[in-house]
């Protein structure tokens, strides 16, 4: 700005005419006013036709996008909550199913086990009966054998002592002793 002072002689002469303030040089008014009006009209047309509708459009569009995005976010959040709920439900179902299958298997195994035990019990009791019968047989045979041996021994003893063995009396005596 300071270099402006080397403006030259013709500028100084112009300033001389204006008596100090170029603002009050009325000869320049029509020129300034004309160009001011031209400028304002051009500026108004640029702003009202291009700039302002465009910026208003951008701002409106952004507002719309933000609103939409917020709605979408809300939606997605609800979906996520639902998915979580579904997952938990599926988990609970699966757990219950597993419980049920395990119970069933346990019952089946129990049934089989019971059957096997019953069978084994039956077999055991059968065998025990058989054994008991065999033992009873053996005991009966043994008693008979004892009686025979005792009778025979008693007859021989009587004979050896010089007596005449009365078969019926010996038998009765042996029976009597075996009862005692």
């Amino acid at each position: 700005m300071a270099t402006d002072t080397h403006g030259g002689e013709e500028m100084a002469s112009v300033a001389e005419q204006s008596a100090g303030m170029p603002q009050l040089e009325f000869a320049s008014f029509p020129n300034q006013i004309f160009w001011l009006i031209v400028t304002l009209v051009v500026l108004y047309l640029i702003l009202s036709r291009v700039a302002l509708p465009r910026i208003a459009g951008i701002l409106g569009e952004r507002q719309g996008t933000i609103t939409n995005d917020l709605a979408t976010a809300e939606d997605l959040k609800a979906k996520a909550a639902k998915a979580d709920e579904d997952y938990n439900k599926a988990l609970a179902d699966a757990r219950a199913e597993a419980q049920r299958i395990a119970g069933e298997e346990r019952a089946k195994i129990q049934a089989k086990l019971d059957e096997a035990i019953a069978q084994a019990d039956a077999e055991i009791s059968e065998r025990a009966a058989e054994s008991e019968k065999a033992i009873a047989d053996i005991r009966a045979t043994a008693v008979d054998n004892v009686r025979e041996v005792a009778t025979a021994t008693a007859e021989e003893l009587v004979a050896a002592l010089g007596g005449k063995a009365d078969a019926a009396a010996v038998k009765a005596a042996v029976e009597d002793r075996m009862k005692g």
């Binding site: 112009v14 300033a15 006013i33 910026i55």
Partner: protein, 251 residues
């Protein structure tokens, strides 16, 4: 301004007002009303600045704005909110006119701060036309929208009856002083700031005080940057206030 001493003989030459001289762009001498002058040039540069500020950066219509687009959006929002807050919802339809005024004054003020530049808003012819246009628009609009009820603006119904005629005269005078204060405030501020910078620059010719003078130029330049914005803002918000009077004349 009185320091405009043309001491051609001395070594110290002050020409603080030379920067405001209107000259034709091509050739010397006289110019008529249609001749392109330096005022024309800087008004045209103002238009280009507005295009560069509001039109070019928004051409991509980006959803996530770039820096330039952000500035354009903020400027738009700043003036829009001003009109909405001061004038009310029904003032929004005058927003393009107010935006035109604001952008013209803002760009003219800031372009005028460039070294060697010409400040179109430092001329009373320019600010006077702007202020008169606002004044006439507001007056005509007031009568068209409200009819004779617009005169209620001057009749302070809340004051005691005896005082009302006195107040009406005061209100009437203040109403007609509006365009004068409106235009002189802007033009005077711009002219004074630039002239003061020039005076300080003139003192820089003296080696002894040149550091102080240059520091002064820097300080006042900073002040002028603030003034350039504030004056554009003040002119615009006063326009909104006047417009509000036309739309709602009740006191």
């Amino acid at each position: 301004m009185a320091t405009d001493a043309h001491s051609d003989g001395s070594s110290l030459a002050f020409h603080p007002m030379d920067q405001f001289i209107i000259k034709p762009l091509f050739g010397d001498g006289d110019f008529s009303w249609y001749t392109p002058t330096n005022a024309t040039l800087w008004m045209a540069l103002g238009i280009l600045a507005v295009v560069a500020l509001l039109v070019l950066p928004t051409s991509r219509r980006a959803l996530v704005p770039t820096r330039g687009q952000s500035i354009a959006e903020l400027t738009y929002g700043f003036v829009y909110k001003m009109v909405e807050d001061v004038t009310g919802k029904d003032g929004i339809k005058y927003f393009p006119y107010i935006m035109t005024l604001f952008m013209f004054i803002l760009t003219a003020n800031f372009l005028g701060l460039l070294p060697m530049a010409f400040t179109t808003t430092s001329h009373i012819a320019v600010t006077g036309v702007l202020a008169l246009a606002v004044f006439l628009t507001v007056t005509v609009l007031g009568f068209v929208l409200n009819g004779s009820k617009f005169l209620g603006l001057f009749w302070v119904s809340s004051a005691p009856l005896a005082l009302r005629p006195v107040l009406a005269i005061i209100e009437l005078i203040s109403y007609f002083v509006r365009p004068v204060s409106h235009s002189v405030r802007l033009g005077g501020n711009m002219m004074a700031g630039h002239a003061v910078i020039k005076v300080f620059a003139g003192f820089a010719q003296v080696a002894v005080i040149s550091p102080i003078a240059i520091a002064g130029v820097v300080a006042i330049y900073g002040l002028e940057i603030m003034v350039a914005f504030i004056q554009a803002y003040v002119f615009t918000i006063l326009t909104c206030v006047y417009l509000k009077d036309a739309l709602h004349p009740a006191h």
